[in-house]
């Protein structure tokens, strides 16, 4: 048996430029990989199923190398979750959707299947639905404990999900999440879909990250074809992705403060966010820049005065953002709510390989733009901010720093935008080739995996939202906090429901 670490040997250039080799492994190697995950010598980047079996994407933190293991099966596989907690929900989802059972798994409860789909394992064995017992929430017993169920519909305008709090007085002793309400069956819709439709679905997996998703999906298709994308297209993708990051971070900074009843930040940040969206609309013709990135390049070039418009936007944000940061930093009543609240330990962030501001506020510095570089970021200068205090305040500061970095990145992109075409036709053929994409969205790294099918289709695809490895950590971060601080903690994580529920 080869040392499992040797199977994780793909450099960023390998993953980015060529089909990803399938490494089918047997029981021993699969279990060895699960144990390596349990020892934290490797990180889990994704765990999903296809008709080929179960796939596991792994990363070695020290070397930055990636590997993709496949355990061929049509019924069961050895549980990874029994060694590595972050694998438990993905395993439950695999069982719900495909019917592949994780043997020895510590948690066999359904996850995305709420017993309402009409069938079990829809794209798998598709067995008719049986009466499903009520969901078994984890017990919480003790004197003077009470439970507060919240959702799936929440008080604000947010996505659906259920939270079950067990509290002692005001203090949360356990939060249990129940997700899956936004499950749309994207995996089965991707099966056999023409590439263009696949791109469209990818861009609607989590609307706030539509650019990053379309990019990750496109990367996967381009890698499977081993094709090169024109430089100008890469630069424009970078421009869109940074505008998306700016819009989301600005919105989040305001919304987190709003959940601490500090409406002024919300109002001012909301104005800046709207300005970003309007600039995106003017330049690319869509406020969220949906459907702009597609395999081969981008759908449209910058309009003639586009660079000037974006540059005005930069000036506008720079003129106002500094005062807002000072307002945040000089408002003790606000800091009183954010400092020390919802603390996530660096240890847990590392174990779950949490990406984005959740990871980077808790000492895990990984950023796909740096850790597994892709164009144009391999030719741009930027910093990846990282802290280790891990509270709501830290997650706000990471966003603040990233806003500054994005402003600088957009400026560099405008200054050095190469001329040339923005699209190259996809080569034909390639059926059976697999490709991996990894893009840093505003909330963390999005992983896309596809297998090319016949005649310009994709055989199968999978999109892994960063939230898979952040949602479970919210349960840990809220422990010992008061229920009233939950909205604040939740917003500071801002996990995607739709991206997770697929």
């Amino acid at each position: 048996m080869a040392d499992i670490l040797e199977c994780i040997d793909l450099s960023s250039a390998d993953v980015r430029s060529a089909p990803i080799p399938e490494r089918a492994v047997g029981l021993m190697e699969w279990v060895a990989a699960a144990e390596a995950l349990g020892r934290d010598t490797v990180e889990l980047m994704g765990l999903w199923a296809s008709r080929r079996g179960v796939h596991m994407a792994l990363r070695r933190p020290g070397t930055g190398r990636l590997g993709l293991l496949t355990y061929p099966t049509d019924s069961s596989f050895p549980s990874v979750g029994r060694h590595h907690a972050a694998a438990q929900r993905p395993e439950r989802a695999i069982r719900d959707i495909y019917g592949f059972v994780a043997e020895g798994a510590p948690d066999l409860r359904p996850w995305l299947d709420h017993g309402r789909l009409g069938v079990h394992h829809p794209p798998g064995t598709a067995t008719p639905v049986m009466e499903m017992p009520a969901y078994d929430f984890l017990p919480a017993e003790g004197e003077s404990l009470h439970q507060v169920p919240v959702g799936p519909i929440h008080a604000g305008i947010i996505e659906p999900g259920h939270f079950r709090f067990t509290a002692q007085g005001e203090t949360v002793v356990r939060l249990e999440e129940r997700l899956g309400y936004a499950h749309k069956g994207i995996g089965s819709l991707l099966r056999g879909a023409p590439i263009a439709r696949g791109t469209m679905l990818a861009g609607r997996t989590s609307g706030d990250s539509t650019v990053a998703y379309a990019w990750a999906f496109s990367q996967a298709v381009e890698a499977a074809h081993g094709m090169t994308v024109p430089d100008r297209a890469l630069w424009l993708r970078g421009l869109m992705a940074e505008l998306e990051r700016l819009a989301n971070h600005l919105g989040d900074i305001g919304a987190i403060c709003n959940d601490a009843a500090f409406a002024m930040m919300h109002a001012h940040c909301g104005v800046l966010r709207e300005r970003v969206l309007r600039a995106a609309d003017a330049v690319f013709g869509h406020r969220l820049m949906q459907d702009m990135i597609r395999p081969g390049g981008v759908a449209r070039d910058l309009r003639a005065d586009g660079a000037a418009l974006v540059s005005d936007l930069l000036g506008d944000i720079r003129a106002r953002f500094g005062a807002l940061v000072r307002l945040y930093d000089n408002s003790p009543s606000l800091l009183d709510r954010t400092v020390g609240t919802g603390r996530l330990s660096p240890d847990l962030a590392a174990r779950f390989a949490a990406g984005g501001f959740v990871g980077r506020a808790s000492g895990r510095a990984f950023d796909a733009r740096r850790g597994l570089p892709y164009g144009p970021y391999d030719r741009l200068a930027f910093d990846v901010p990282c802290r280790s205090d891990g509270d709501v305040n830290a997650r706000i500061w990471i966003r603040i720093e990233e806003v500054r970095q994005s402003l600088a990145l957009v400026e560099q992109i405008l200054d050095s935008l190469p001329a040339g075409p923005v699209f190259a036709d996809l080569p034909e053929g390639g059926s059976g080739a697999m490709g991996l994409g990894l893009v840093e969205g505003f909330r963390g790294d999005i992983l896309a995996w596809i297998e090319i099918g016949p005649e310009g289709t994709i055989a199968e695809g999978y999109l892994r939202d960063p939230s898979w490895f952040q949602w479970p950590l919210l349960e840990a971060a809220i422990e010992g906090n008061i229920i009233a601080d939950f909205p604040l903690c939740n917003k500071s994580f801002n996990c995607s429901y739709s991206g997770h529920d697929l």
Partner: protein
């Protein structure tokens, strides 16, 4: 903070750097809306938003209605936390099977008279998720819909305009 507050006072309402047309359209929309809502419900209309499994793109634009540019509360429109306080259910998403019951319960909890607005292509007919085993395929698959606002996602200005149309339709009754 004092400087920001003072600036806010002196600067007045937000300018419209992008397009006068859009500003003009919004003001026109605004005054129509004021007349219409007064006719039906006095001065205000309370909206309960329900995400029935959207991709969250629609929510982003619905949230934008509260920013200083659209500021929907000027028109007597406001979002409420409970369906029991609502006149309108503003529904997004293809209505996933996992959300159908929650949506129905929110509807049942809303006192009459009530209206249902399907916002976004998904809410209208399932959008690009139509045909999946996991979705009902739009709001009208599960309840009567009074108004459909297309778009993926609908622009905030389209959402505002849509609400006006709803109110005007009602006021003709």
């Amino acid at each position: 903070m004092r400087r920001l507050l003072l600036e806010g006072l002196l600067r007045g309402p937000l300018g419209e750097p992008l397009a006068r047309e859009e500003a003009a359209e919004r003001d026109a929309l605004g005054s129509k809306l004021v007349r219409a809502t007064r006719h039906v419900l006095g001065r205000s209309l309370s909206i309960r938003e329900v995400d029935a499994g959207s991709c969250n793109g629609c929510e982003l634009e619905i949230n934008a209605l509260s920013n200083a540019f659209y500021d929907l509360e000027r028109f007597g429109l406001r979002f409420v936390a409970s369906p029991r306080h609502a006149d309108v259910l503003l529904v997004t998403g293809p209505v996933t099977r996992n959300m159908a019951e929650a949506l129905q319960r929110a509807y049942d909890a809303t006192p009459a008279p009530k209206w249902v607005v399907a916002a976004g292509d998904c809410a209208i007919d399932g959008g690009c998720f139509a045909g999946s085993y996991a979705v009902q395929g739009g709001v009208s698959a599960v309840m009567h819909v009074d108004l459909k606002i297309p778009g993926c996602p609908p622009r905030p200005s389209a959402l505002l305009r849509g609400l006006v149309e709803l109110m005007e339709g009602r006021s003709n009754d």
